[in-house]
Each structure stands twice: as structure tokens, then as C-alpha cells.
């Protein structure tokens, strides 16, 4: 039995490597996309073997289903010379109904899974551990202590999005529309104290009530975009401030990682924050993350790398 499962696992691993290689290096794009979809299906099987059926479901639905359909649609829109030797548009037409059917089955499966979630949830367990987390609000405790890894990865995904946008090209420098409507930039400057007050309030509230780094960062970022539109943050576009901008963009993720590694040194578990330090560590991470999120939103609005 063990030999059989070991063999199966080895076969899976080898298949993954082969399919990944094919998806990356096949000259025909259509074949590469099909290999990529097969890769994701096999990846879903791997998640099943790791006893994580929910992730397997997400992998199959998002990786093979949605991403595959997106890539095929993109292929269909490319000029025909680019997609050598295939007609993905026609292929796409015939497979539309099976794809819709698969999406419906997947949605039904998810709905069935929701029915089977533990009731009444994990609120009682979280409340029981609340004293050990350093904050008194359950959502903040879950986001920044109990499931800190998820939050860490979310910030990393946002940073990845900014890097992707920067790779598209130089920033579209927003014109200062002061000439046509002089009142608006002045109004947006009047609003800015509020845009500083509200995030501070949200951050401070996060320790004991709904709030925290993500809402604070979003509001701060919105204020920042207004300032960008009024042409009041010239430093973001200047080459000499670029190292500072990059530092601030990664500050949240870097501090989060530092806290996680510090926990690894002190307690032996990654992201395990000692109880005595928990409150201040979480506050520092929240402030840095909020700042980074605000700057990331502003950088996303610039739609390209500033000062290039």
C-alpha cells in the first residue's frame, strides 16, 4: 500500500515537472496553454494528496478553469500568426458549454461545502484565545496574530501587483488640471487633514473594534490619489526619492517578515509573537502595513514605474 502511494506521489511530482516544463517552453502557445491547464489539474490532485481538498477545489476552479479560459480567450484575440498552427477560437466555441457546466458543478460543490462548515464557527475558540494575542478585537487578533501568515501573503500579493504594473512601463504623469478648474485642487487640499485623521482613527480603533491596517491604508491611499491628481506629490515622480519610495512600499511586508523571523528566533515558530511583545509588535506592523498599502494604491494609480 505504502509503496503504491509512494509510486503515485513520485509519478505526480514527475508529471508536474514535465507539464510545467512543457507549459513554459513549448513553441506553440495553444499547446502550452493546454499543458498549463493540465498542470493545474495535476496540482489539484497534489493538494488532495496533501489532504487539503478545499485548496484542491480552488486550484482546479481558478487555476485550470478560470485562468485556462482567460488564456484561451487571450489566444483567440491574438493575430492568427501568433498562435501557430491552431484555431483556439473555434476550440473555444465548442468547449463553451462543457466549461459552463463545469463552472456550475464547481459552484454547486462550493455551496455544498458551505453547508458543511462547522457551526457556529470558530468565534468561541478565538474569544478564548483573545487574551494571549495582545489585542482585544477578534478580527484583528485573527488577521495579525492567529492567521498572520494569510495577511502576510495578502500584502505580498499587493506588492506583486505593484511590481507587475511597474513592469508595464513609465508612469502616466497626471497632468495638473489646475488650469481648467482651479477650485478643485484647493478643495482636495482642504479635505486632506480628514484623510489623515480617518486612517489614524481606524488604525487606533483596530486594537479593540473593527478597523485596522487594510481600511486605514485604503482611506489613506484614496487621499493620496486625490493629492496625485492635484499634482501635490511630486516627490513620487523624482528619481532621487525612488529608493525611499521603494523602501516605503516594502516597509509593511519587511516589518511583518522581521516580526515573523523574530518570533522564529524567540519561540521557535515562524510568526509566533511572544505575548509580552505582541501588542507593540502588532501595532508597528499595522502602521507599516497601512503606509505601504496606501503607497501601493497610489503606485497602482500611476499605472507604471515613476521616474523612469
Amino acid at each position: 500500500m505504502t509503496a503504491l502511494t509512494l509510486g503515485f506521489d513520485l509519478l505526480l511530482a514527475a508529471g508536474l515537472v514535465w507539464l510545467g516544463w512543457q507549459a513554459l517552453f513549448l513553441p506553440r502557445r495553444f499547446a502550452a496553454v493546454v499543458h498549463f491547464m493540465a498542470f493545474n489539474l495535476l496540482m489539484a490532485l497534489v493538494w488532495v494528496r496533501l489532504e487539503a481538498p478545499d485548496i484542491a477545489l480552488a486550484e482546479a476552479a481558478i487555476g485550470a478553469g478560470v485562468t485556462g479560459a482567460l488564456l484561451l480567450t487571450a489566444l483567440g484575440r491574438l493575430p492568427s500568426a501568433a498562435a501557430v498552427g491552431s484555431h483556439p477560437q473555434q476550440w473555444h466555441r465548442y468547449w463553451r458549454y462543457p466549461a459552463i457546466f463545469a463552472a456550475c458543478v464547481g459552484a454547486g460543490w462550493l455551496a455544498w461545502g458551505v453547508q458543511r462548515l462547522p457551526r457556529p464557527g470558530l468565534a468561541a475558540e478565538v474569544t478564548a484565545k483573545l487574551d494571549a494575542t495582545g489585542v482585544s478585537h477578534a478580527v484583528t487578533a485573527v488577521l495579525l496574530n492567529i492567521r498572520a501568515l494569510d495577511t502576510l501573503l495578502e500584502v505580498a500579493v499587493m506588492l506583486g501587483a505593484v511590481m507587475l504594473v511597474w513592469s508595464l512601463g513609465p508612469a502616466l504623469r497626471p497632468f495638473a488640471p489646475a488650469t481648467s478648474l482651479p477650485g478643485l485642487p484647493a478643495l482636495s487640499r482642504l479635505l486632506h487633514p480628514l484623510f489623515l485623521l480617518v486612517p489614524t482613527y481606524l488604525l487606533w480603533r483596530g486594537a479593540h473594534a473593527p478597523g485596522g491596517a487594510f481600511p486605514a491604508g485604503a482611506v489613506l491611499g484614496a487621499g493620496g490619489i486625490l493629492l496625485l491628481l492635484a499634482d501635490r506629490v511630486g516627490w513620487m515622480q523624482q528619481p532621487r526619492f525612488k529608493p525611499l519610495l521603494r523602501l516605503l512600499l516594502v516597509a509593511g511586508l519587511a516589518l511583518f517578515l522581521a516580526v515573523g523571523l523574530g518570533g522564529l528566533l524567540l519561540t521557535g515558530t515562524f510568526l509566533a509573537i511572544p505575548q509580552a511583545l505582541a501588542k507593540s509588535a502588532i501595532l508597528a506592523v499595522e502602521v507599516a502595513t497601512a503606509l505601504s498599502i496606501a503607497l501601493m494604491l497610489m503606485a497602482l494609480y500611476l499605472y507604471g514605474e515613476p521616474a523612469r
Binding site: 497632468f175 481648467s180 478648474l181 478643485l184 480617518v198 484614496a222 490619489i225 486625490l226 491628481l229
Partner: protein, 114 residues
């Protein structure tokens, strides 16, 4: 809180969510930046107003209700200024508003491509 209050509050919240849905649909489906701004600012601000009114009806006291309505007021201010700034920036960048083309001219446009 009376039953009448609660029913009205739920009605307002559902109506607000519908306006948000419409605004988001417009944001996805409309053809250019100006029409998208129109969808977002008009439908979403009305939706947020309905949502805030519904929530204010459920608030614990007058101060809490006033806070919720203040959120709407601030969003109205910020989104009005922001939308006008985005639109005038787009205009200054030389983006022309989308013109409604008739079906016939669109067909004629497509033919040489295929």
C-alpha cells in the same frame, strides 16, 4: 426599535445594495473613463446614501446615526472632487469621450479587419 423601523431599514439597505450592483455593472461594462465615472459616482453615491440611511435607522443613538450619515457626506465630497479631477485629468491627457456609433457603421468598421 419598532418593527416598522426595521422593515424600512432593511428595505433601504437592499435598495442601496441594488444601486451598488448597478454602479459596479456600469463600471465593468461602460466603454470609457467618463461613462465609468458617471456610473460610479451617481449610482454608488445614491446606493451609499440609502445604505447609510438604513444603517442609521438601526443605530444605537443619535450620535451614532449622525456618524454614519457623516460617512456619506464625506464620501460625497471626496468622490465629487475625485471624479471631477479624474475626468479633467483624462480630458487634459487628450482622452476624448466615447461616441455612440450606429450598428451599421460598426459593421462597416469590422469588415476589413476580418
Amino acid at each position: 426599535m419598532t418593527e416598522w423601523h426595521e422593515a424600512l431599514s432593511h428595505l433601504l439597505i437592499v435598495a442601496g445594495a441594488l444601486f451598488f450592483l448597478t454602479g459596479s455593472l456600469g463600471f465593468i461594462r461602460f466603454p470609457d473613463v467618463f461613462t465609468r465615472l458617471h456610473a460610479l459616482t451617481k449610482a454608488d453615491n445614491l446606493g451609499l446614501g440609502l445604505l447609510c440611511s438604513g444603517l442609521a435607522l438601526q443605530a444605537g443613538g443619535l450620535a451614532e446615526a449622525a456618524k454614519i450619515m457623516l460617512v456619506w457626506l464625506l464620501v460625497l465630497l471626496a468622490s465629487g472632487i475625485g471624479a471631477t479631477l479624474v475626468a479633467s485629468t483624462a480630458d487634459a491627457c487628450g482622452i476624448r469621450p466615447w461616441q455612440n456609433r450606429t450598428g451599421a457603421s460598426r459593421e462597416a468598421r469590422r469588415e476589413p479587419h476580418e
